[in-house]
Symmetry: C2
Subunit: 477 residues, 2 copies
């Protein structure tokens, strides 16, 4: 399913490059604006990535104070930092070799932090036990995911290894699988049903792989990126049942677990549902669950802290996983610290609690406001339709483009939504991510937009978007 | 050359696990000491890793101050931080999306920092040009190395891909190649000649690969880990000539480039020598050179900042490299900041210069002192021989073990040097890394010890080592 070329020894497989044109052009426009070139806008707003702090969301003071004190322990003597900040920094430094964030840590992460993560998981899952030995911290959850793919994708076998991945899907997932010589088996989320994951579709996808590849794993993302969908407990049960029957390794990407907006939505972890299903399923289905400090209310993308928890994985494979993770010396220590602060935030009564609570509430309120506004505004404009965003960091509105625009895109050698996004960037300075980067259903057009941004930024985004869209639709209708 | 097993879909290749027994035991001993168990020592000294700050070397104040201010910009208003620290932090924050270290960056790294690295390289290499587009920052140089291996190792071809790697070699290098389905082709460094790299040995190794694999690349490490050897310009010329003749991609691991101790030794980069050799070689040999903020005088292992510079690599491959790096969102921002501070330290006249100069001089003096002490002490004790450490972060002394000890090790199911190291740990609380982890020459025994530690720690290490060694040799002679 991926294009391949061979051009000498340094070249392994060159699969289709994602559209970088758009981002290159955005950089160029930014330079032009700096040089004083006149445009109908004063700055480019980039909402193509899921980057809350890049979108103006303020980092949490508690997190940044602890980080500063850990990096520069002289600050521990300053009474300008709250007592609990200094205590936490002290505690964390005690766990670092040489009391320094500049030291390597154990392969799985600083044991104290790993243990803290397992406590967090147990608490989250209402007592389902979690064992530190099954947890690996990495510099971002993507690195953990890549490692699990390395294990799953048997590039040495004659028949290629297949992994079921959703459509639409966060682009780097499919990329990782293919780079390793694996095949992605697309299953389509049902857009009109709020991007629901349907078991009959998983069955269809698995059938389609017959004779093409050897399916070994199923990748799910809940809450979804780019879809914003949140699975129900029942849906998760069905997926686990399916994985059990088909003997598939289950990869549950749950990095947006803190980001739930729908009134009726709640996050339930795959691990919890698996445990609830009881033996034999609860003891046999192999599960890797991913989480990250880049997402959620902490939103520390730049620090690179993620982890994977493994359940029911064969001890021999666990040894191999250890080894694979140890090929990198260790995860970023600032990222590890962020994970500790995410899993053990200030508690009522702590000096930092009130500010922490205020800041996280504000972020929560902003995100809930944003997903409502996007839903309302986009669904009120002809040519747009947008499913409710129940969770996650993005909206993924559908574009109903006029045939003329589709023809024009083809002439320009672009996908329709790429064409739309390039024009949007040029004319309104708004950078969004075209749907074709997410391998949407053939014949549909979308774009992904980051909703983890300041309210006032979002208002500006919607104004630019609606104004451009109306003009665009008129031009091509 | 690697053991392989297949045990179901989740299991790809399980190659021999490195000795983790020793590190597990060390952790256990630490716990026992905490619980008050009586031992002939009060604490475990771990010099098995190349971790300066873990070994008590103080981080550079300038680095930590800038990091603290970047993470917690309120500090920018504090006059307790020097003016140049605040200016640098301001400058770096300006380059972060949303003025935050918590934002994602471009795939290659923050453009300002990447450009700064290319300026550093140009300066280092006496004007040989370096282009930002050829540089990729990653969360540690190991990740860059792994990515280049992914490109080189064609796990889909019928004939396995081979990479020439030195013996002894930093263990994670061979591990990475094998995990990806490649084959390592060992070339032996000449221990008695100060671990010299000899061209006839490269020729022999390449010949030995005939019929076994398809050799595509040559990995060199200069200064050497674990050997401490520093290549001369002539030696580098010979290696480049060899790579050119044999059409091998050259991987030059130069992360210890700042750590030079020998009076007659100097670091010359592969890139500089390549440029000096002129066309056609200078324009055809494909080179990847690696550097890191984990090593050198900055020694910030925990922040995870490394980079690779690519030279003469085909543009189509460069596109593929871009894509591969983009499967991880970006490198750790604290690691990127560390790279900026490493490549652009304070200059004479800057407020931080005098302290910076004092601190780096102290580290430099400590390291030079340490390598001399290790050389003197170990070579004065029967049963040890140690080549001069000209550079890098380690000594790799040879153990001349009595036959009785070798038999005893065999009975215990261990390699002779592993047996020695386990006893050393048990009896003296000293944790070093057995030579067999570095795939030393058959029939020889060594261990690797970190020399980037405080002088007083080293004295304690040498005392424990000599005392144990003398007893051990007596017991088995």
């Amino acid at each position: 399913m991926s294009d391949q070329q061979e051009t000498g020894p340094t070249m392994r497989r060159l699969s289709q490059l994602e559209s970088v044109v758009l981002w290159n052009r955005a950089r160029q426009i930014k330079r032009e604006l700096k040089q004083g070139v006149k445009k109908p806008y004063r700055e480019v707003i980039d909402i193509s990535w899921g980057d809350p702090q890049g979108g103006g969301i303020k980092p949490l003071s508690f997190v940044r104070q602890v980080l500063a004190a850990c990096h520069y322990p002289q600050l521990l003597n300053s009474d300008k930092l709250p007592e609990d900040v200094r205590q936490r920094a002290e505690r964390l430094l005690k766990e670092c070799a040489g009391r320094s964030t500049g030291s390597y840590t154990a392969t799985q992460g600083i044991p104290y932090i790993v243990k803290g993560i397992s406590e967090f998981i147990t608490r989250r899952d209402g007592g389902v036990p979690s064992f530190p030995n099954n947890i690996y911290i990495s510099s971002g959850s993507q690195w953990s995911l890549q490692n699990i793919f390395i294990i799953l994708v048997n590039s040495m076998s004659a028949v290629k290894t297949g992994v079921l991945t959703p459509v639409p899907c966060y682009d780097k997932v499919n990329m990782s699988i293919r780079e390793l010589g694996g095949v992605t088996i697309p299953y389509y989320l049902h857009e009109d049903q709020g991007w629901e994951l349907q078991i009959e579709e998983l069955n269809r996808a698995l059938e389609s792989a017959k004779g093409v590849c050897n399916p070994v794993a199923l990748y799910v993302m809940n809450p979804g990126n780019p879809t914003g969908q949140v699975q129900t407990r029942k849906s998760i049960q069905e997926v686990i049942q399916f994985a059990s029957e088909k003997k598939l390794f289950l990869l549950a990407d749950e990095v947006y677990q803190e980001c739930i907006y729908g009134e009726k939505s709640e996050f339930v972890s795959y691990k919890k549902v698996l445990a609830e299903m009881g033996p034999p399923i609860s003891e046999t289905v192999e599960l890797a669950s991913f989480h990250s400090a880049s997402k959620g209310l902490i939103g520390e993308c730049g620090l690179r802290g993620g982890y994977v928890e493994l359940v029911n994985v064969d001890p021999a494979v666990m040894e191999y996983i250890y080894k694979l993770f140890s090929t990198d010396s260790c995860a970023s220590v600032p990222g590890q610290i962020a994970l500790n602060l995410m899993t053990h935030p200030p508690q009522p009564g702590d000096p930092s609690y009130s500010l922490y609570n205020e800041e996280t509430q504000l972020i929560q309120t902003t995100l809930i406001h944003n997903v409502r506004r996007v839903f309302e505004v986009l669904n009120s404009v002809p040519g747009f339709s947008c499913q409710p965003v129940e969770g996650g960091g993005f909206a993924f509105p559908r574009l109903h483009l006029p045939l003329n625009a589709i023809h024009k895109a083809k002439e320009a050698g672009m996908q329709p939504d790429e064409f739309y996004c390039v024009r949007l960037l040029e004319e309104s300075g708004l950078l969004v991510n075209p749907g074709w980067n997410f391998e949407q259903k053939e014949g549909t057009s979308h774009f992904r937009m980051n909703i983890m941004i300041k309210e006032e930024t979002l208002e500006g985004v919607l104004r630019r978007l609606v104004s451009f869209h109306t003009k665009f639709m008129k031009e091509f209708s």
